[in-house]
């Protein structure tokens, strides 16, 4: 016997979370990639998974999408346990992983058709959907070439589109905009927002604060597999409402002297080799001027300075009190 539900598995009226993770844990050998991570995402909600390289974003997404085993804790999609009912869970998810997972010898059209068939979407619907996605994401120029010939961004777009073929109730996007040009990025942002409006529950990982800010209803800031902070973007930003004054000095020896002059500043971070000092100053222009003047009066020669928005690293600095592990440009 089998039960075929003709409705969507979770009604959007109830507040049962579509994606539910409880105390997820995963180790690779002696690397604890994820330690006790809990969160839930409702229909229509976007969760931003924010964190530096190696934070555990990809591992978390792989656990939730049946791609890697869950070592500890529990995860459910639409009420079905990921570990014990992966076959049911796979009917409800779409995934765009960090590295492209498409057939390189097949064209975009063929790839989308292939995945649509495997999702058991009827032919007419499949073709309509494929053409709609090709149009929407501007894949038309290369849709009939094997994907091995695509540029990095083109392949990335195909991979993201592949996750959307079945319009699944739970969507997982692992750094979906990395490597996309501004136009494609904007298109993807629009799509994510409109899918959420239609009731899709979305988990999206990113290294960009701006992206999480734009898209996410709530943000989970993780580092070393643990939650560092969580909340709405606004709540987090309230925490971060401070610009950084970045001062570059002429001489390496000036850094020590400057540190002495700024000893009273809690948030000053000095980098001797780079001859640079960062200070969180908030939106207070007078304060910046006063600090610069103090250095100048103390005989420190300043090469240049700038006031910049907080970066992800600054977020970590202010939330954890210690610099996060190095944040590098993602090369993937």
């Amino acid at each position: 016997m089998y039960i075929m539900s003709t409705k969507q598995p979770m009604s959007t009226a109830s507040h049962e979370p579509v994606i539910d993770a409880r105390e997820l844990h995963k180790s690779f050998g002696n690397v604890e990639a994820v330690k006790s991570l809990s969160f839930s995402v409702e229909a229509g909600e976007v969760l931003g998974l924010l964190g530096p390289n190696g934070a555990g974003k990809t591992t978390t997404i792989k656990m939730l999408t049946t791609l890697t085993q869950i070592d500890g804790g529990q995860a459910a999609i639409g009420g079905f346990d990921v570990s014990t009912q992966p076959d049911v869970v796979r009917q409800m998810i779409g995934v765009a992983g960090q590295s492209a997972a498409v057939d390189e010898k097949l064209t975009a059209r063929e790839n989308l058709n292939l995945f649509g068939r495997l999702y058991k979407i009827p032919r007419a619907e499949r073709q309509r959907r494929t053409e709609e996605l090709i149009e929407r994401f501007d894949l038309g120029d290369f849709a009939d070439r094997p994907s091995s010939t695509y540029s990095g961004g083109e392949r990335r777009r195909l991979d993201v589109v592949a996750a959307l073929v079945a319009n699944p109730p739970a969507l997982f996007l692992d750094e979906p905009t990395t490597g996309l040009d501004p136009r494609s990025r904007a298109e993807l942002w629009d799509t994510v927002r409109s899918l959420a409006t239609e009731g899709t529950a979305i988990v999206l990982s990113t290294q960009y604060l701006e992206e999480a800010d734009r898209l996410a209803d709530k943000i989970l800031l993780i580092d070393h597999g643990e939650v560092v902070a969580q909340g709405t973007p606004d709540a987090l930003k309230a925490n971060l409402d401070r610009n950084v004054l970045e001062i570059h000095l002429e001489l390496e020896s000036g850094v020590g002297d400057a540190q002495e002059l700024l000893a009273s500043e809690e948030n000053a971070v000095a980098d001797v080799e780079a001859r640079r000092i960062d200070i969180h100053v908030g939106n207070d222009a007078d304060r910046s001027l006063a600090l610069l003047r103090r250095l100048q009066d103390g005989g420190i020669s300043i090469l240049k300075f700038q006031l910049r928005e907080p970066t992800l690293d600054d977020v970590f600095l202010s939330l954890t009190g210690s610099p996060s592990t190095e944040i590098e440009e993602s090369t993937k």
């Binding site: 016997m1 409702e42 229509g44 796979r90 409800m92 057939d103 495997l118 058991k120």
Partner: protein
């Protein structure tokens, strides 16, 4: 998050499929994967070309270089002896390509997509082994045509068809073994290296190129009963119009044994995630 518009329909969720539904879906998925692998085969004609060139290479090398010496032992015209063996060896090469193909699915990342889809995971292998069998048939026909140009004669058309079918059958059995190796190792270069270890002993210590009497005594029991010998003898009988029931039966048993072991093993290994 209370106000949501209606999501466009996605396929209905099946929570507890019956055996019949499961079988039907597995065969649909196999069909889909077969379609995908056939497209790949057409786009990589070098795979087929390689199999044919290997076959022709063996035909020419053994016939003109060793032909005289071995032919005397075999007691029949050497080309009549050799070609059926080469057909079996070509089918075995096809099995190695199953192994390489599945390993490259892992390295290209498309397996990660398959794994996240609501599909029968075994279809990834069953579709591929069928696609490889189809390519094998094309390769075997081409090798047989070259053999005919060199002077080989099939006893009858029916014998030719049966010979190619049996060679394809043993190749299909070994395809599942190749799939199991690829599902375990997953890296194309490792898979390529490992295939030397099963390909060469099976190929050379067999009756494909030379009769068992020409081999050292201690090796003869292995040579006599191993699957490639059984298949070579059976295919040779069919092609020359003197079918030997024992060899055919032994070949069919080997195919059954290979499938009984490697279908479940390869699917199990393929499904494993870390």
């Amino acid at each position: 998050m209370t106000t949501t518009t209606v999501r466009p329909a996605s396929p209905p969720v099946v929570t507890d499929p019956s055996i019949t539904l499961r079988v039907r879906r597995a065969s649909e998925d196999t069909n889909t994967v077969l379609w995908r692998d056939m497209i790949r085969t057409m786009r990589q004609p070098d795979m087929l070309a390689f199999a044919v060139v290997m076959g022709v290479f063996f035909l020419v090398l053994f016939n003109y270089v060793f032909g005289g010496a071995i032919g005397a032992v075999a007691g029949i015209d050497y080309l009549q002896y050799l070609l059926p063996g080469v057909l079996v060896i070509s089918a075995l090469q096809g099995a190695q390509q199953t192994s390489m193909g599945l390993a490259s699915d892992f390295s290209e990342g498309v397996n990660e997509r398959f794994r996240s889809l609501p599909m029968s995971q075994s279809a990834v292998i069953s579709g591929r082994t069928i696609a490889d069998a189809v390519r094998n048939i094309a390769g075997l026909v081409l090798v047989a045509l070259v053999g005919i140009l060199m002077g080989f004669r099939f006893a009858s058309f029916g014998g030719a068809v049966a010979a190619i079918a049996l060679a394809t059958g043993i190749g299909y059995g070994f395809s599942w073994m190749g799939a199991a190796i690829a599902a375990k190792v997953r890296q194309p270069d490792m898979v390529g290296m490992l295939s030397m270890f099963w390909l060469f002993p099976l190929m050379l210590a067999s009756t494909a190129f030379a009769p068992v009497q020409s081999m050292p005594g201690w090796l003869q029991p292995f040579v006599t009963y191993q699957p490639i010998s059984a298949a070579s003898d059976a295919v040779r009988g069919l092609a020359n119009g003197v079918p030997t029931g024992d060899a055919i039966a032994l070949t069919l048993i080997w195919i059954a044994v290979l499938l009984a072991i490697f279908v479940p093993v390869s699917v199990y290994l393929y499904k494993k995630v870390d």
